[in-house]
Symmetry: C2
Amino acid sequence: MTKIIREKSEILPLVAEAFRALGYEGASFSRITKLTGISKGSLFHFFPGGKEQMAAEILVEINNWFVTNIYLPLETGEPMAALSLMWAQTGRYFHSGGRVCLVGAFAMDATRDYFQVAIHDYFTRWIQALACCLGRAGVDAAQAAAFAEQAVLNIQGGLVLARAVNDEAVFARTLQRLAAEAEALLACQNPPR
Amino acid sequence: MTKIIREKSEILPLVAEAFRALGYEGASFSRITKLTGISKGSLFHFFPGGKEQMAAEILVEINNWFVTNIYLPLETGEPMAALSLMWAQTGRYFHSGGRVCLVGAFAMDATRDYFQVAIHDYFTRWIQALACCLGRAGVDAAQAAAFAEQAVLNIQGGLVLARAVNDEAVFARTLQRLAAEAEALLACQNPPR
DNA sequence: GTCTATAAAGCGATAGAC
DNA sequence: GTCTATCGCTTTATAGAC
């Protein structure tokens, strides 16, 4: 029936979406199969280590995406452009609030203990990259660090609240507000020069 | 061995803590027993409806706590006092960032669909109560609503980030910042009168 | 690579002794 | 109220046919 030869790079995003929808504990093989159409046999073929290997590889893939699309631009690109790119990419990535942050979700329960370093690094790197970008745009280091932490924190909060009240607009509003606050921070810092 | 006659009001908080630590899907009976010391037999004695009943009753208890300690003061008490009480109670309740928000955690995965109204009401009531308080303190309605949404969102984000980077100070900082922002909002609104 | 069969463990839930 | 025993069912994981 499904004789298509798939590659791991093709099925990993599908499995990731199942984990996002179900959480780590809720993501049983039968449910993953139901959501992705990938049979149990295929799943074990690609991930002999089972669920733990799946989640670990998903976290690596997520990190790769953020390095390419968010962290590196922030750390090395033109600050203003990198910043507006971040708001846009973040909005796209989380489907305007309709998609959960898997790393944040993993952090909430006992799953955290299994992927502690991946979870920790995801957030600290994001915050540091953003602070780095603001610093290169002329913002005081302490202010940059504070705003960066706040921004990442607000993105997570926006995702939680948007899902909780079932209104993606909450997340969209949050991104807009953060962008405006960043703009104000830069405007406040640059003219005196 | 454990011949102590317990009441439901005594064991509910214990079970709630297990759900907080494990999440809904991760909270199996064996794990709940391990964490709380309450045997499977006792759990079913108090909750014939199983896990679903447990979670539902926990959500009711959580709501009751917030009505008494947060919502009612905000809605009916002296605004300034109710506001500073909220920051203090919120910090206490979430153990300064060391305790997860169960309602927020439930909102993240498929568990949300089972407790949709409880989750929705928890957040909207909190936001509305806070906006009501700010409004009674003289803040413009639109500004009050925006700040209230932001504040609740930041509390959730603070809890996620604090757990993710394993640093409770993130949450403490967030509460302090929100309190300062609220103060500024009131100071900005009141003098013109 | 995909599927089915199957084993062993863990799951939610019930019944009954104490 | 508490515990143990036990029932079905689902789970993870493996093995082997195709």
